[in-house]
Symmetry: D2
Subunit: 340 residues, 4 copies
């Protein structure tokens, strides 16, 4: 059984693992104050062509989201998110557990627009409502869709004009960068904070939170400590991001994931199957009749996402740096056979 | 410069790292639902001779402490801790950030007694006080001292009689087991929950939280998720604990740390230096005149812990699985030379 | 200008105020431990024909809701509420500020059904979701609709069968009791906790929280203290509830409010105007063309609730114990004149 | 039995109660947006000779403390307080329940000095500690002692120089003003926020929180709402503060309380009894042998505060606006008789 269920099944890219092994017996400073973390931050700043940012390495996406949002907001301030946002439906109420309400907007493709943000603000103008203050978007989104540069620029301009904090969840930033006109250097220009996801793109754990807005930087390492996110051996995060960003490995891995997905997406489309939404990144949501899905399930693992009105099933398929391209071709061939 | 500053300078014992490398390309279930985590839990249960416990693998000690305490307590319930407890002075207000007050007791050696616990209860009987409900102890303590079996049994009996939750911080449990009459099998019998520290004894990150009391088990994986502690690639924790507990590696590493410390402690004592407190585990707090410390600092890294009334300095020295025994002998020889 | 904007414009029923004046110089025990609070609790227990409940007097509705929900729930547990529920849209994110997510269900009339509750449970089965644990309903609802006895019994049975906590917001319980087959004695039988609203029915401040379920009672006075809800002069709450419940004043005031509303509702309906929803209690939501509303606004205060698709406006009108019946007749006559 | 146990036994000064009765049937705007609250704020601003402050009326002291501190601080920021501070020992863990640690300093008389504040800062410099950010003092203190103008000015200057927030708990501000060289106009000049206590000086409930520092003002009414502190009938607070501050009633009541206490303090001292601490305000802590206390307890209620080393008892006695001067004289006479 080959799995297309998610992009976190394998551990780490061999080059990342090698870096861990090579630095094993170094006596490093604890708590992320080591040279590997500093070096990784330096590489990242070079790639984003921006010196004046603070970079913190954190174990996972939920932890990064809750840390950033709780550190950035005052008690009465709330988050605006697509109803499909990861923080709303997949993080166990983590944001509310830090005291902040999420104001959700319905959106067919997982993407927020300026109109959505305006709507959330309008609905919460009264004193008996929380203050809509932070805009949370994911790029790529939880539906595999992406914001391109023009879309992000429009949201960014609106947020600046309305004194809103713009925070971008980059759990799958690599895949988004590899299929849009965005570069890493666009992010510090457009948002107040964001993170670069390592866990789903070559690392075994690790996200790099980048805080751009000076007013949000203070005491962040104390926040890390207080939420239990400061690893004693922080260097295990630094070492991995060094390996990913010293050269071009991060983007190469994302390109691999996307090119694997291109094979699956094109093959499925050519056989006449529809998708829940058009998604150019490493996640797709094709719709199969139940009998076809039954056959798929005998050889491959995919995620049963939701039933459709006509009785067919929408499934989620994901590729990653570790996906075997041959298995993508196999899937298409098998699907063709199942479909006859 | 050789470092005796702490027990988390090096990354991981080679056998632990090898396990990571060997399992790298396996497609595993995410979020700790993989077979390595299950297997590691099985080994731990065998070692503690107890089936009916829940085991969760968590990245670090502060995270484990705050997760457990916040999950176990109701809003108005408070924690009783020695004033030297790690949660009081070294975790950035993490427990208070979850809403719970810490009721501290002064104690010269970092160890709580039944009298301390009774005192904290007596001081908080009124309705305008929080309800003293959970006893937090560390074994070994933050001062390197240890509770032996009789001491733990007395505290345990008192907690049971008074409907208090007993939670043991095991960040340095290995070292405590290696220098007392306690075994891992004593823990589930004596307390409601505890953790087995991996980070300071061979792992690059990871603590195994063991929940014994049935009433505290419910929904704990949801707590993990909500606090950002559920790793997508949870198997990196399982793999390490498999390596540590399949055989006897965990205890061997703790014994190594302790035997390294025996060299330091005995050598320092023989040269006539005093200690802040008698500590049989892998942490000691010797007191040196400033001129001696200056010489030490030229060749070794130790932690400047506190000034003494007579102008001398108390320092903290720590050994670990990774400590080079030769360096311990060197330190003693050098100290002898400095002291002439 | 006469106001039908809400049911908290005037201060207190004269009999309530007289009780305050009569007891002014008594030296009473502080923090609600006085004889007036005890006496009021005794009257309430007699009215609900139930001894084994704990009763706490609290200043207001939002405070009562957040106190009860935060005390009853564990961190990962969430609340199920109608999207129109007061806690969702009118309490400033108070529930989330205590760490708990609200799982909202769409409902046209503000009433939850068993199907809604089941749906919320089904959508939150996974470990990455909070645990749907407490059902929050208001009776009467925020739309003026009411649950009758059969409806509450069905919800109650479902909650018991599914180990859910049923909590009823009784900010306008008086009005609901006065227009349904429910009595106060039904509440302890049907739910785990509820409150009897005084502020909107004769008191100048005060709600009586009734905790029925034994497992939810512990330490509640400590919760009051911790959330700043324990008044030094708690007797001012007790004295008011004594006045309301020694005889039948509470029900008489609610009946007055409802009978005032009957005049308004019938009059408006007879003139051919529609309502957003059918509501038998002291709140109605009639729909007027803009030109009619303009004329109303010259003589009366009503709350502009929402625009309708056809350009007309839905307004909220509320009556209370203090409403002048004559003004209700005047309103109908004026509306008839405006409508010609 | 006449009670000297506390200053919140009686309900309200008759003039305050009369104001409530006189305004009873006015239809006022809800939630503190009424003219009485505005008027009361105007009177207060005149008395403090300062226009640029925000004033919010809140039900009680614990609620005011937790609201202010939680609104002013970021998650990792902590409070510096005397160990005798009301927030530390008498508010049920209310501050910690909002997520903030209290850093306590030992002080014999309940008063913080600049040296205490510096010490708390020094002890929390490391990243693994919370950030000591807000200084909490009470004036008068929980031991009845007071800060005079010079002492407050020194603390204020230190706080400004070190970017600390200075917040003054004024539960018993009236009594402090009536026995020091401070006036209400000194407060906005010296601190960032403070409150003027009504509950213990003539009101039946109500404290006036005054926010001076512009950076702390934003969204405070949303904080009130979110914590359940915004009363539907907010006018009941405004009406009381109008009565207290339209003329000089507030100061007259405080002077009465102090002059009653002068009788007790002088009489007790003349009979040779010692006090735990010298306190010029409306609270004293005399020390009596057990046999004398037994006799006192037959005719008067006092609070048993703590045992002394020699077997005698320290008790707390409090006077208020409602204290009967005759009873103070009686007490002294009786004590004289008991002491023969």
């Amino acid at each position: 059984m080959y799995s297309f269920v998610n992009d976190y099944s394998e551990t780490a890219h061999p080059a990342v693992l090698k870096a861990l092994v090579d630095t094993n017996m170094e006596q490093c400073a604890g708590y992320g104050a080591d040279e590997h973390c500093m070096n990784a931050a330096k590489y990242l700043k070079e790639k984003m062509n921006c010196e004046n940012v603070d970079i913190h390495f954190i174990s996972g996406g939920t932890q990064t989201n809750l840390l950033a949002i709780a550190a950035f907001l005052r008690p009465v301030e709330a988050v605006i998110s697509a109803v499909t946002g990861h923080i709303e439906g997949h993080e166990g109420g983590a944001i509310e557990a830090t005291g902040h309400k999420i104001l959700t907007e319905d959106t067919p493709d997982g993407k927020l627009t300026v109109a959505h943000i305006q709507h959330a603000m309008d609905m919460n103008k009264e004193e008996y409502c929380p203050d809509a203050k932070l805009v949370y978007i994911s790029n790529s989104t939880e539906l595999g869709t992406v914001y391109n540069k023009a879309e992000l620029e429009e949201i960014s301009a609106f947020c600046k004009a309305n004194d809103l904090i713009l925070f971008i969840d980059g759990a799958r930033m690599g895949s988004a960068l590899a299929c849009t006109d965005l570069t890493l250097a666009d992010y510090p220009r457009l948002c107040d904070a964001f993170y670069v996801g390592g866990t789903k793109n070559g690392a075994f754990l690790g996200e790099a939170l980048v805080i751009v807005n000076d007013s949000l930087k203070k005491n962040f390492r104390r926040h890390l400590k207080q939420r239990g996110a400061m690893l004693a051996k922080g260097k295990v995060l630094g070492v991995q991001f060094e390996a990913l960003f010293e050269g071009n490995l991060f983007m190469e891995l994302a390109q691999h994931a996307n090119s694997c997905m291109d094979i699956l997406r094109d093959g499925i489309a050519k056989l006449g199957y529809k998708f829940l939404v058009d998604s150019p990144s490493n996640q797709i949501f094709p719709i199969f009749p139940q009998n076809i899905l039954d056959k798929i399930n005998e050889k491959y693992m995919v995620l049963d996402y939701m039933p459709m009105d006509d009785g067919s099933r929408c499934v989620r398929m994901v590729t990653s740096w570790a996906t075997d391209k041959e298995q993508c071709h196999n899937f298409v061939k098998d699907l063709e056979a199942f479909s006859k």
